[in-house]
Amino acid sequence: MALATVVQVLENLCAGAHAGLSVSINALLRTISQFTNLNMSHQSELIATDINAYLEQHERKELLRFITCGSVDDGKSTLIGRLLYDSKMLYEDQLAQLESESKTHGTTGGGFDPALVTDGLKAEREQGITIDVAYRYFSTAKRKFIIADTPGHEQYTRNMATGASTADLAVILIDARHGVLTQTKRHSFIVSLLGIRHVVVTVNKMDLVGFSQGRFEEICSAYREFAERLDLPDLHFIPISALSGDNVVDPSPNMSWYRGSTLMNFLETVYIGSDRNFEDFRFPVQYVNRPNLDFRGFCGTIASGILRQGDEIMVLPQRKTSRVKRIVTYDGDLQEASTPQSITLTLEDEVDCSRGDMIVRPGNVPKVSNEFDAMLVWMSAEPMVPGKTYLFKHTSQSITGCIESLRYRVDVNTLHSSPAPDLQLNEIGRCTITLSQPIFFDAYRRNRTTGAFIIVDRISNITVAAGMITAREADKSAQTAPWEVAEGLASTTDSSIRLVTAEERQARFGQTPATLLLTGLSGSGKTTIARGVERALFDAGRTAIVLDGEDLRRGLSRDLGYSALDRSENLRRAAQIARLMNENGFICLLSMIAPDETVRSKAADLIGPDRFLTVHVDASLEVCQQRDPRGHYVEAEQGKLPKLPGAGAPYDVPQAADLVLRTQEDSIDQCIEQVLLLLRGRKLIR
């Protein structure tokens, strides 16, 4: 069999194009190895001649974790198969088993299916797809490698993020015939998002473009141009042919114009020593070890930095300082330890410290806050619900909290960001998070351990999202500042005008201005009652104004959606108007869902608690869903709107309402009468 024939046969197999081919994989690979002068990495001369020298050499190896991005069509499986085979990680019995399975499960009509090398699960094989991350292992004399092999189909985002989270390096495959595709951009974005610093773009199938230097350079510059928008600090390009082995292990005789490393050489030598953060000492306490009263050890994995015996440390959140007495290990005490060693510390002083606390240096502390911004990768079929309580696992802490708002969603194909109500499976967005307790964190860019967290659904226990904390702190100005008010109305400088006083207004209108917030689920009857009260007051010669949350959304709040933060903002605007109305003597009836107790109390503070009344319009969710006057429940069901308060999103029932109206039991007129009674009772109207 000539080399060209082997290449041709394998190419056909890879493309899955030809049925009926039945080539023994053993024979095939043996043939390839004859032609391509394989460097059997494990078959070092030393194994046979001096095993002890070999072991000594191999006990000093480094570990490199990398992810491969691309699809079978890009030759990814062929490349991985080759790396495994070349480093002798496939044994004859495994090959024989693959060969027999190719006949039943393969997509190549009985011939060897290279995808089976990297496929693992039966159900997936029957569907002909891979649905997850598979980890592969091989090693050479210099390094041990862990490959996170992720598929290139629709589940790519979730799986790639998983594989990328622990990777030092990414191998991005590009088919030389097709160049930079949408999927290349998508893969590169996720690589950059997950903080992988080293990227090697392998332009594969160079044999099919005549080993053209021009084509290679064209692809490199196209990639560089688009990668400028990404954070990829260490970028390399290698032209290869995985099938025939060009520039994989040995330099290609077909591409003498290429002077750089082969892929294997690059993987063996790329410098990753400076990737770890050795500057900021962070030690999340994982476990407290107390075998007896005389020993109290704090166990954990050093997230970043270096620690020496005798160093001054500080325990967060207590901010108590002490010194490192011992760094205890089974193999004896250490003078110093560095990330990512798993160690046990004892301290000079009795300091209160338990799982979830963090030991740092007094002069270099992480941010401590319960509010931050993060990029989220949504990993669950259940969409994100802003405002819902989730569990956040960050270092050794698990804390409840919620996603306050989704600032924007990123389209992984175009990298454009745009507003969205929520995140669906495999979507990525920037969110503002609020937790019930502070955590100790750094930006993910600076620290891949203290900047990362996962989100767990409290009912299903499923991991629904992965988060990376962004450098900027939660934008306080956008969140809390709008609620703050400059005191008093703008005063006129012209003293000749006598201002209308509050007393004069009260006398004229026959009422003391106040704001009634009618809060309740969508469909509970808020607006109907508000309009009814307005009518009754108008008929009695009083002056009231209805501000309806939905009406505001048509104009003043047209820019707002239905996230928790947007609902809060809508109530803020309504409260500001109500306040102005009150200051001008009018009674204001706010008809809004206002699901959040905190936001309601902010509104009360803004308007003045003494003239702010809360009326809870109460009806069961079932009844509200039946009424559904605005069709919102249906839309939420269809996913056109985020989950509604009470139906998936939280609704805090007011604990101290001035009045509760039960619209299931009482008629509209009865409800209106109760509101008027309240106003009279509080002496707001006569």
Partner: protein, 303 residues
């Protein structure tokens, strides 16, 4: 290697210790499966390191099928129980024992009853909510996608579709009552790593791993050792003395020996590196029911 850079074995060790401590911190009743093999030896060693100077804060469990090599049981008693002083539980499926299944005749049923059922029995009996296993991802294809924390429903079943994504070293340990997690601290270790680590750390292992003259019979292409009188020779079979060792340890009628001259660890490693077949090849179990044998077993609750 540059300063502060750790060797691959040190990194693997640190990762495994992190995993073991995380389980001890987050679960109310963990247990470490102890199979007496080399992977168990490494996992136990890592557990000792994780909690030093204390003992591991959980018991160890050996699922005894009653068909293990005698030398394995001796090692379990003298090393794990006596020398290390581990809190060691042994479970034998007494009900299953009454069925008198001969593994040589019905390996699949033997594994189901004496191994899988027995394990589930023990987990239920003690109410363990997390169980460490020594499986590695490089052992077998369906293991390559296995999580470090592998979720099992209340029937101990594994569903490849409901496994949780696993990012960084943030393991989701949340389960509902009755459910459990299998944890594999050696997920990222390869056979070579395990041997190198045993060599480097001088971890004791069962002598069966070393070559010695042993009484074996050739059966279905494998060399089966006659460890006791329960192994009945079939027609045409005859015992012969060969210099053999075992690459994996299990039930002796199901574990094939390999001819070998390796009597030291370096020699074992040397042999492994020059070998042309994978380590599980000596095991009959993977080839049951064609194709995804191990995967089916895992769904039913096998490790």
């Amino acid at each position: 290697m540059p300063a502060y850079s750790l060797t691959h074995l040190k990194l693997l060790e640190a990762e495994s210790i992190h995993i073991i401590r995380e389980v001890a911190a987050e679960f109310s009743k963990p247990v470490m499966l102890y199979s007496i093999g080399k992977d168990s030896s490494v996992m136990t060693h890592l557990a000792l390191k994780a909690f030093y100077p204390d003992k591991p804060p959980f018991p160890f469990l050996h699922v005894d099928t009653t068909w293990k090599f005698r030398e394995m049981i001796e090692f379990r008693e003298s090393y794990a129980r006596k020398e290390l002083g581990l809190d060691l539980l042994v479970n034998i499926n007494e009900e299953g024992l009454k069925l008198g299944i001969d593994p040589a005749e019905n390996s699949e049923k033997h594994t189901d009853v004496m191994k899988t059922d027995s394990l589930k029995q023990a987990l239920n009996k003690y109410g363990f909510d997390a169980a460490f296993g020594g499986a590695r991802r490089d052992e077998e294809k369906s293991r390559a996608k296995e999580r470090v924390f592998s979720f099992r429903d209340k029937f101990h079943r594994w569903d490849p579709k409901t496994q949780r994504p696993e990012l960084w070293n943030l393991y989701n340990t949340k389960i509902n009552p009755g459910e459990s997690i299998r944890v594999f601290p050696l997920s990222n270790w390869t056979e070579l790593d395990v041997w190198q680590y045993i060599h480097l750390e001088k971890i004791p292992i069962v002598p069966l791993y070393f070559a010695k003259d042993r009484q074996v019979v050739q059966r279905d292409g494998a060399l089966i050792m006659k460890d006791d009188d329960r192994l009945v020779l079939r027609e045409g079979e005859q015992l012969e003395t060969r210099r053999v060792r075992f690459r994996t340890l299990g039930c002796y009628p199901l574990t094939g020996a390999v001819e070998s001259e390796a009597t030291t660890l370096p020699e074992i490693i040397q042999e492994m590196l020059l070998a042309k077949t994978s380590e599980r090849q000596g095991r009959v179990i993977d080839r049951d029911s064609a194709g995804a044998g191990m995967e089916e077993k895992k769904k039913q609750g096998y490790f």
